[in-house]
Homo-oligomer: 209 residues x 2
DNA sequence: AGCGCCCTCATACATTGGTATAGTCGGGCC
DNA sequence: GGCCCGACTATACCAATGTATGAGGGCGCT
């Protein structure tokens, strides 16, 4: 069962926060309120599909600055920006920074809901991607250095013989490491191993030709 | 030698077109002028790194509509939007549709140049990607139906034996088709074939696990 | 009919890949 | 020292893959 989705509301206007909170809950979305970016950052973030509704003009840190800040912190939540006194350059900057949408106050409830729901869908998809990638990365960490080397060369398409020559090993040793990599990565075919290697970027792009 | 870059200027204001043309040429960019989207569409487009500078408000077809229209026509040139009387929703819509930038008239020359140069850089990268993909797709077209089927199953990671069973063939026949696919696709390893198959989307995502 | 292309299959052989068993060597750890 | 683990290697054997040669049938086109 997919957990309930969550909207983080970041705005210094308490009455607006309350209104948004009510709006989101009316469609079954859970919600949290924060008066500033700092407050949001210090709060706990549940690992559920969610997004941030962020006012552009805020005391302390502006919404646009916050976007960059969140990226640096590795917080990849979709952001819906809103503002009461915005201009086009501001909206363009926000959208370039990857905002899901940019709304001007006052906005229609439906517009906000559309934006938030789209943002949450995007986050769901990203979570899915990440979950898989994380699994693969976790398994990759269990590989010994040699196994990683061999895996990389295998993913380049080299034959055991060539790998052995490259690493100054006997072919049989390569086979051992190769087999270990397949087992540890839980790859049931070479095709799978190649895809995992690509997902993990263990093969220099220039050598994928 | 990379050919000279080109900027397509689409605006109904002839004096602005002339000013832009002069601006672009001053930094070594070639340029073409069009008074409407239709005029641009009927003109010849050179296969060089380029972008479109497009007015949002135009007689005939608006710049925003044009963005969608260009996509449908398979014209994937980066678009820099500009407008004299724009609002935030308009700019958001434009950016969502993939515009490289959105400028308001009057704009500073440097801002326009920055946007156009970034757009052309993006197009260069996209051209590079496309050139390779096009090569692969061209080779893929030379495959017979059976060879494509076999290639898809190979890219899923299946063994010849399993493929033979799936397609109700003898294993030897599968080997023939597989070998033919490798030759025609110019893949020197299974890893390469897998990557080409992925680039061409010949394997349902669900089966790449 | 003749030609070419695709699809099919078989036999045979060579190469490559995968696994098991067994042994050596070195480093970190209790 | 004793122990585990990673790395390395060898022999042996089996499975999978690749290629060559040969051959038959169907289908469309000239």
């Amino acid at each position: 069962m997919e957990p309930a989705s969550l909207v983080h509301i970041v705005d210094d206007d308490g009455s607006l926060r309350a209104a948004l909170d009510s709006l989101f809950r009316s469609v079954g979305l859970d919600s949290r309120q924060y008066a500033s970016v700092q407050e949001f950052l210090s709060a706990e973030r549940l690992d559920v599909p969610s997004c941030i509704v962020l006012d552009v003009r805020l005391p302390g840190m502006s919404g646009l600055d916050a976007q960059g800040h969140l990226k640096e912190l590795g917080i990849h939540l979709p952001v819906v920006l809103m503002t009461g006194h915005g201009d086009i350059p501001m909206s363009v900057r926000g959208m370039k920074a990857g905002a899901e949408d940019f709304l001007t106050k006052p906005f229609r409830d439906q517009d906000m809901l559309d934006a938030v729901l789209a943002a949450i869908e995007r986050h769901k998809a990203a979570r899915h991607e990440n979950a898989h990638l994380h699994d693969v990365a976790t398994r990759y960490e269990t590989l010994s250095p040699r196994e990683r080397q061999v895996m990389a060369l295998v993913a380049e398409g080299k034959m055991n013989k060539q790998i052995a020559w490259d690493l100054q090993l006997s072919e049989i040793t390569v086979k051992i490491h190769r087999g270990a990599a397949m087992r540890k990565m839980d790859a049931r075919s070479l095709a799978e191993l190649v895809r995992m290697a690509d997902a993990l970027n263990v093969v220099p792009a220039a050598r994928q030709a």
